[in-house]
Symmetry: D4
Subunit: 162 residues, 8 copies
Amino acid sequence: MRESNPKRGRNSNGTDVSALDREIIRFLQEDGRRPYTQIATALGLSEAAIRARVNRLVGSGILQVVGVADPTKLGYQQALVGVRCEPGRRTEVAEALARLPEVDYVVLTAGRYDVLIETVVEDNDGLLEFLDVRLPSVGGIRETEAFPYLRLVKQTYQFGTR
Amino acid sequence: MRESNPKRGRNSNGTDVSALDREIIRFLQEDGRRPYTQIATALGLSEAAIRARVNRLVGSGILQVVGVADPTKLGYQQALVGVRCEPGRRTEVAEALARLPEVDYVVLTAGRYDVLIETVVEDNDGLLEFLDVRLPSVGGIRETEAFPYLRLVKQTYQFGTR
Amino acid sequence: MRESNPKRGRNSNGTDVSALDREIIRFLQEDGRRPYTQIATALGLSEAAIRARVNRLVGSGILQVVGVADPTKLGYQQALVGVRCEPGRRTEVAEALARLPEVDYVVLTAGRYDVLIETVVEDNDGLLEFLDVRLPSVGGIRETEAFPYLRLVKQTYQFGTR
Amino acid sequence: MRESNPKRGRNSNGTDVSALDREIIRFLQEDGRRPYTQIATALGLSEAAIRARVNRLVGSGILQVVGVADPTKLGYQQALVGVRCEPGRRTEVAEALARLPEVDYVVLTAGRYDVLIETVVEDNDGLLEFLDVRLPSVGGIRETEAFPYLRLVKQTYQFGTR
Amino acid sequence: MRESNPKRGRNSNGTDVSALDREIIRFLQEDGRRPYTQIATALGLSEAAIRARVNRLVGSGILQVVGVADPTKLGYQQALVGVRCEPGRRTEVAEALARLPEVDYVVLTAGRYDVLIETVVEDNDGLLEFLDVRLPSVGGIRETEAFPYLRLVKQTYQFGTR
Amino acid sequence: MRESNPKRGRNSNGTDVSALDREIIRFLQEDGRRPYTQIATALGLSEAAIRARVNRLVGSGILQVVGVADPTKLGYQQALVGVRCEPGRRTEVAEALARLPEVDYVVLTAGRYDVLIETVVEDNDGLLEFLDVRLPSVGGIRETEAFPYLRLVKQTYQFGTR
Amino acid sequence: MRESNPKRGRNSNGTDVSALDREIIRFLQEDGRRPYTQIATALGLSEAAIRARVNRLVGSGILQVVGVADPTKLGYQQALVGVRCEPGRRTEVAEALARLPEVDYVVLTAGRYDVLIETVVEDNDGLLEFLDVRLPSVGGIRETEAFPYLRLVKQTYQFGTR
Amino acid sequence: MRESNPKRGRNSNGTDVSALDREIIRFLQEDGRRPYTQIATALGLSEAAIRARVNRLVGSGILQVVGVADPTKLGYQQALVGVRCEPGRRTEVAEALARLPEVDYVVLTAGRYDVLIETVVEDNDGLLEFLDVRLPSVGGIRETEAFPYLRLVKQTYQFGTR
């Protein structure tokens, strides 16, 4: 098993993730509660080695093992919000938005919007409150455009290790 | 502990999730590998009861317990793609896009786009291949606009049970 | 040779509404259940004359006397939908949309959209069903953009007779 | 006849409207001047009970019984105006616009515009005066886009109680 | 109580132009140098009467009799420029733009732009100078979008009197 | 007086217009009915020479001498319409639109629209008829966006000969 | 001098360009006619080695050594054209556009446009001819938007080897 | 061989480039390292004359003879960025952007954007740094929209002398 993967080296961080780490991630993407002993057996390693590697991946922010609920099925309203920032403030805005608890996803993008965020709120009143009070509490925003979700069709986490 | 939560009843599915289920979800959102015995003790239930409820939540698609990797740190390129469909085909398009393995997120929305998807690809060549070959393999698409991710700032799953 | 040009009046129907009719309309805009005797006294006419004029205004579509409910307070989701049509089909599309029971308002406009409609649905699933099934059942539509209502702030009918 | 309607409970206010109230609303949506005695007979209640319920619905803003005139047939020009606000001012702007007498409809929305309003004016000069003087008298507006009405095709109030 | 409502005429000025004036305008739209004696004979009036009416029409700004050159054939570059103004300044901006000699057409509009102007310049350098120096010398402009003309296909003045 | 003007030679047609022609055009731009004798005196030529040159300019489409009425003051509604065409049909569309009598201006442009036209109609009904029946009678149009005129602020023809 | 440059390895082709090649490229970016003997001396290699490496770089399409003229100074009109394609045809369209001699730059992009091209034409007539005849001769194009150049401010080739 | 070329005279600078200069440019567009002796023979001139003319063309900014590398093949990320400026600052912004070393192309345009620039950066992090730090270091920018390149399909310099 190759421990280096030069073809994937687009991001410097990426080069720190070995092929073995990727195998472990793949097992956990399928089932986050898979016992480490099972993964250890499959990869020919000790459970301690698996645990140590998972801890390192989690500690460095490469991996989370979490319960992911479907907000729609819990009765919540979600929306994607495209954000355009004042010149020179997009990273600052993104980081401030990331500190809002009702924002679960923040990404800096190229194109029509500078930052894309996903928010989870109770209902339309909550979305209005978010758009008119919470989101503008962050300075440096020029304009926003919200896309309320009507139905969540797919949410998977099995990528990147095929 | 109330088992019903009438204030959250926006979606009929939502009413099937009890306050107790929400507590369990909250524990797993914080740490997907938290031992059921720990959750059982905290909520005053047996481990078997917790396990049964988690299994029901997972079986009904309300919850996944999974390893979530940061694609950027694995050296991948991600993009959000806004999709506009031919009239009357948006649900069909969303479901077909959900079947593509390189698409990890599909949501039907109101506004400028009909469907929003997230894709994870190797690099710019992979994004071009996705936009020009894979995505159009789905019929009923009228136009698309891709937003390549420059940096992922926040990705959390702790919502909906506060 | 005529020296006057009555055709320049903006709406031919407008000229059929007398100042007296406008006074009656104003009374009913304030309170649709105002007794005709009260209006008759105020305008120095008989109740029968008021009744006859109201009937004529209602019969010609100039006036409706109706209960207007606030959909938000009844727990419904409303949305404005901007519609762009295939060339030469905007009037036909507008008339077909007007026949859908879940559409309560249809207007032909100039600008970015050809037709603007308002719809009242049960919830997000109802809005998706409307956008993906009901609305496209009307032929000649090229693209649509929905604006879900977050809060209704004003809905009044006292205009046009000041 | 059930007095509760849990399936419609999207807005907390909505839950205060009983199925019986909805029946009364439906009668008045068809004809705002229908005598209460007629409604009372149909629903097996006293006229006083109907009157009391109507008064409560009107008092709480759930229902208006009004004369609704067709502005086009009265010779007026109408327009929808999409309004984009400065960050954090959309509710304030909506409420200020609602205080302008030439504005008959104000709604807070998600999407390309923050607030949608409908205005009724005398003619093109009146629309220009509205857009350039009246509307900007409200602070916090960033940009506006007017859609002049060319023809009103449908205006109905029979919804929400089917 | 007046039963007629002359204010509904769309433009008050429009009512001041008699059918006879319209006939005279029509003759001059066809040929601006047509001798008044010829028009007088055709309409059964004296040359003096025609001359007086033309003078009144010109004096009140209803009519110009002018040489209209095709800028393209004279070797000039033309462009339409859509202008968006700061709130409440569109009339002021339009009037200031009208005072620039290189602007030959200014109109206040509804829709995506607040003001549309046409400019005639020497070449691309002149257009850049106009967009970057002359046009912004007018305060209250928020953004502009220029549409350089590639070919003038029709320019006629025979309307409004058919 | 130079007869050639190399600095203006952007269009080949432009080179056929001498500096003397430009002087004559300038006189007529100021007043289309200026007697040729007056122009002849000012330029040191015979009236016959002026008449011959004007006839040549008019015959080659470089100049029109016409009565230009203000449509607004005649009680008409005008609108600019931006037209986008099917690929490869913009010149054909422009020429077909130029044949419609209610279209008084047609220009091929670069940018968001392929063709810009100006139309003069009676009122809002006429504009709707134009947009939905007359304009689409021309094949090859993909989409249109109308900008109704609210007020004409400047319309001058004194350019190109300074 | 390192011959490998792992930090630059985003594209697999990129890894074939050694640090030495990059040095040579840098010399030629500054002056395309710099004698190979001069470069050889500076880098401590033989002229033959430099020549061989340049030939390999040119042969593999990594480098061109060319005269680059400023089209504006040669009296030409340039424009960028944003192209949107029918689904699944963007690569095919880009390659077909690349075969047109009046197109000097073709790039596949993410965002509002699928393909961006630069064209060099004689004048406005040439641009219209290009947009209406040449460009649509390529099948699979849905819409285009041209940005005529008003002034070229910078055109340099010194990048990528710093 | 004609030394003047009146048909190309759109820009005053253009008239300074003789037909002979154009022939020389054409030879160098094909191969920037073509020996001057070869060009001299082909055009019937001395090598010194060719060298003098090339020097003059280079000195006046009409021609560069340079190595042009393909940034994609060197492993770089490129993007076009559309820039909209504050009123009256587009030339100033363009000139300031031209001074940034990571910007290799700057052009002032008409249309949706005021300035178009091309940038060459290391990777997505570099693009974010450019968009959020370097580009806004230039004052007078109102908004930007980046189009990351997915694949460079054509880059040629053989134009303008056919």
